[in-house]
Amino acid sequence: MGFPDKQRGRRSIFFGKAVGLGSAALILGGVNGGPLALAEDAASLAPERARELVRMVRQDCGSCHGLTLRGGLGPALLPENLSARPLPALKYTILFGRPGTAMPPWQPFMTEAEAEWIVVQLLRGFPEESQ
């Protein structure tokens, strides 16, 4: 098995680790400033799909990261935990997982834009599920 883009994903993560601190400010600035691309991605997500993703993150990611995302078997995914990580590294972690750890690849269940949407929401403080 294996996904065609695995290598690219992994490289991004390592790249991210190497320059993590340096690019943190950039990424943070980007998120807070709401760059056009991100805003468009978020806006173009159908409300129904957004609800599904929120539920998926809270429930299915929550089984390892905690329903409140304060951590469990996987680390906490709160803004203060993630803000120092480059956005693409986080996105590729979600899409391709981290080989050798318990973090699985979610690429079969979401698009790249959706993974990015999740990262942006995580960095802002992830929305609660609307029951």
Binding site: M1, G2, R55, R58, Q59, D60, G62, S63, C64, G66, L67, T68, R70, G71, G72, L73, G97, A102, P104, P105, F109, E129, Q131
Partner: protein, 395 residues
């Protein structure tokens, strides 16, 4: 004159009513057929009755219950709920109220109650270690950090009670199994077994309390400790069950607790594979494997051992399959609802309760005919725990 008098009459009636009506025939109830269901998102548990298949009461204010588990006092009156947020809550099933609640750690995974019923132990992810409390008062009586290497703390998983007021558990980050003897809580004795295999993720003890099995996430196989002969050390069983094939991504860690020991065999979830592994409990050799619908999460034997029920990880979490232990065949595939998280048998196994998180319901099935007996509406239900656990080693 009149209105005040009438007011007085009604006032007295109001005060006396409970005495006149209530105290004459107090409603007694027992707890042997009760249980609790965790309402995952709402920080609440539902007390249920398995004789009438009904909801008795709800108890609120329990914090983050995303991975909550429950043990019971030996008198089956109290349920101890271990919350994800490190909360430990003691619920009085008789009165239907929260009796006590403490937040004992940052992040916990589960707990166990000692053989004599006096101590409750919590396995913590953060700070990694074991904390032991008085079952009565929830006062801390022992703190055993899971220290390894150069002072790091490991997440603790797979806790179970052992005879002799001991607790056995695994250190996820340290690849160790520890046995803590807390008979004297002021001076706990800890026996450690290292290099047991990569990343143990959960564990179980067999019904006799003799064998402890820890499932490994980081490699194929199961670590086995014979607690009657600990000097023999930890053995590896079912090694290489994956035969070197790359395993499928794992979207939910399987659970081992909940005996799947039936008819001299143990049934275990294969990690990253659509298989249940079968081994005999004498020689611990693989005797077979059963292809199932998805990656197993819970593999649980009906109390009489004739059936083993299996649920699955995302994305196959809408299914439940039933294995006949005599033939090793799947005899039934059910679709109880969306996102099946847990299942629990009634004490003698005539019925099974199954939680379907995304359909906000718990479904009760007859285990002989597979007919649906009842459906209860429960908000995001996860774990289901019946008081019969109070009298079983390893629960």
């Amino acid at each position: 004159m009149k209105p005040p008098k009438a007011g007085l009459f009604w006032g007295w009636l109001f005060v006396l009513w409970p005495l006149l009506v209530g105290s004459a025939e107090p409603t007694l109830r027992a707890t042997g057929d009760l249980g609790v269901i965790v309402e995952r998102g709402a920080g609440r548990v539902v007390i249920v009755n398995t004789s009438s298949n009904s909801v008795v009461q709800r108890v609120e204010g329990l914090g983050d219950l995303s991975h909550a588990s429950v043990v019971f006092s030996r008198d089956q009156r109290y349920a101890y709920v271990f919350g994800r947020d490190g909360g430990l809550s003691k619920i009085d099933l008789l009165r239907g109220v929260l009796d006590k609640r403490i937040v004992q750690g940052g992040n916990s995974i589960g707990g166990a109650i000692s053989q004599n019923g006096k101590l409750v132990a919590v396995a913590n992810y953060e700070p990694g270690g074991l904390k032991v409390f008085s079952a009565d008062t929830l006062e801390l009586v022992a703190d055993i950090p899971a220290t390894y290497g150069d002072g790091k703390l490991s997440k603790v998983v797979g806790i179970a009670d052992l005879p002799g007021d001991r607790f056995i558990y695994s250190l996820f980050d340290a690849d160790q199994i520890w046995v803590a003897d807390v008979r004297d809580p002021k001076a706990p004795k800890v026996e450690k077994f290292s290099n047991i295999g990569k990343s143990p993720y959960d564990g179980l003890v067999t019904p006799s309390g003799r064998y402890y099995l820890a499932g490994l996430f980081g490699e194929d196989g199961i670590a086995l400790l014979d607690t009657w002969q600990p000097q023999q050390g930890v053995q590896r069983i079912l090694a290489n069950y994956g035969q070197g094939e790359e395993k499928l991504p794992v979207y939910k860690m399987p659970h081992l607790r909940g005996w799947a020991v039936a008819g001299g065999k143990v049934y275990l979830p294969a990690i990253g594979r659509h298989e249940v592994l079968v081994a005999d409990t004498l020689g611990w050799k693989e005797t077979g494997r059963i292809a199932v619908r998805g990656q197993p999460v819970f593999v649980v034997a009906r109390p009489d051992g004739r059936q083993v029920w299996v649920n699955f990880a995302f994305p196959d979490n809408g299914f439940v399959q039933v294995i006949d232990t005599l033939t090793g065949q799947i005899v039934q595939t059910l679709e109880p609802g969306k996102a099946v998280l847990h299942l629990e048998f009634t004490p003698r196994g005539e019925a099974v309760w199954i939680s379907a998180r995304d359909d906000n319901k718990v479904v009760v099935y007859d285990t002989a005919s597979f007919a649906k007996l009842a459906e209860l509406s429960v908000e995001s239900p996860s774990g289901i725990f019946f008081t019969a656990r109070a009298h079983r080693i390893g629960f």
